[in-house]
Symmetry: C2
Amino acid sequence: MTIKDIAKACGVSVSTVSRVLNNRPDVSESVRRRVLAAVEAKGYIPNNSARDLVRSRTDAIGIVVRGTGNLFFSAILKTVSREIDRAGFTMVPHFIGSDADEVKAGAILEREKKLRGLLFLGGRYDYTPSELALVGVPYVCCSYTNCFGSLDAGDYSSVSIDDYLTAYRAVERLIQLGHRRIAAVVPSCSDRSVSELRYNGYRAALKEHGVEFDPALLAETGGCFEMPATYRGMCGIIERGADFSAVFTISDTMAIAAIKALEDNGRRVPEDCSVIAIDGLPVSEYTIPTLTTMVQPAEEMGMESVSILLKMLEGAPARHLLLEARIREGASIKQV
Amino acid sequence: MTIKDIAKACGVSVSTVSRVLNNRPDVSESVRRRVLAAVEAKGYIPNNSARDLVRSRTDAIGIVVRGTGNLFFSAILKTVSREIDRAGFTMVPHFIGSDADEVKAGAILEREKKLRGLLFLGGRYDYTPSELALVGVPYVCCSYTNCFGSLDAGDYSSVSIDDYLTAYRAVERLIQLGHRRIAAVVPSCSDRSVSELRYNGYRAALKEHGVEFDPALLAETGGCFEMPATYRGMCGIIERGADFSAVFTISDTMAIAAIKALEDNGRRVPEDCSVIAIDGLPVSEYTIPTLTTMVQPAEEMGMESVSILLKMLEGAPARHLLLEARIREGASIKQV
DNA sequence: ATTTGACGACCTCCGCCGGAC
DNA sequence: TGTCCGGCGGAGGTCGTCAAA
């Protein structure tokens, strides 16, 4: 069942059928009706591969999810999927490890699947224009920005929270409660990415409030956001006999692992040690104790990312949206 | 950048490049290397639309994920995505609510995206053949089976654990530890689905070991797997003054919410009450206390689901794989 | 002036035949 | 005789162009 069969059945040319199918004006009403009737009668459906081939453009939007096991991304992904479907596009997801090259993955995806646009869910903060030259379609960085990089702000869009400020406020909250010896478990202090940014917020909050930074209170997990590495990092701080009354981690799952390490070493949370984090996962509202955390507006981030990308496909300029993370008071911090 | 450019650059014919690209045997090793080097150097990627076109079929496999917020599915999804990519197919995901009609969603997806096959991640256990007649491509039910339905076993594949037996074993473990008053929080006792199946396993374990079932120890959440509803259900059992020393829930996240409800009502886990569940999420290894749970082999389920589906696309018969859920001993249960 | 037909290009695969060694 | 490679044509739908009715 091809366009030729329809043409033959109607006694018209292939060109004419194509014109009807694509709603072009230069076809007489009588021929149009005859063709549409034949299409309906024979149940003809145009071959999408052939259409894509000649139009050289699809309805595909790629999503590169960097960091498998990131529960925060899982939440965003569902929103993104829903919004892309709603707009009549097709979502093409691609999951990569947190140490993989998302730009390369996106560029390959773009060409393999003929993407109209790209949405990066997590990535590096220090792109250079030459790196991103690989990407030939509009793209949005969801949950991060290019603050360490050198991209022209007009060349890409981003939707994120202010990582530095959010970390600053989380640590400031601990200081307000009287904490001075505040440990931190972070993937890295200098990864030119989310971890460095939030670490800088931690350092700035200490400094601003006259608290001296103590390297003994810091654990780096070697770039890893996973719970086992976080658990080991927290144990490391404890085992070296460091003196601290609070812990800051850059994600909820890291906080859950850190709390586990504290409890396993005989330190109760929050009685012996306060813990604060950033993310606001649903599950951390049911941990014991309930986690106090800075909630990222996941739903809003997903919606806005897709909305901005779709508008870019229609020629709208790039946008950089900075959303606010609000604290969700739990029971993992207390006054000292 | 097309196959012609590669041919020109290597000084060979288009046919030869095509032969190399498709791993055909009748090409000399030297030419093969030269062509592959040029492909690498120029970053050539074959046009998928053209490939699909000439092969007269697409490379799309649909995934209908039923139940947003299901962390267990998030883990499977990553494995499924990786395996589909590896096999050279394209994954087309579709997320729907846990009360939505996955068959209808799959059928629509199949027509819109011209799918080769479908993978249902979560769904009803009681399909009838007429319902599934909507689906015109091979499909695999991942994480569930049609045990309440009337499908011909040869018409579909499934990869799952034995829900009834797994629940039976979990509850049996509690009985072995001396528990007789075992509460259960389940979405529903009669949803013709996973909840009913696991509830039946709970009831069977009680009966088999001479423990009388007490309706006061049961909470139904109204078909909901979410933590807030589970929390309320658990609180309901406590508030009605029921006497129990252990709780069985059908998922890890439900257990986390149940433990929270217990602790909030002054009952320590496991000292005052043991809790056991089914799933084996990474996060439940870091909750306090560590959850004792029946681990579903998520990685294996994802891999096998894709593997079986791909073989079905090549004409292989349907298969029904029953995987084993092994207990992960935590610290949420104790002897009484 | 309006409508319709014919044609080539787009891109890849694959089977087939022919030539070269 | 066997191995390797070139070349051809058909498959599919769209779209611009040109010619014709």
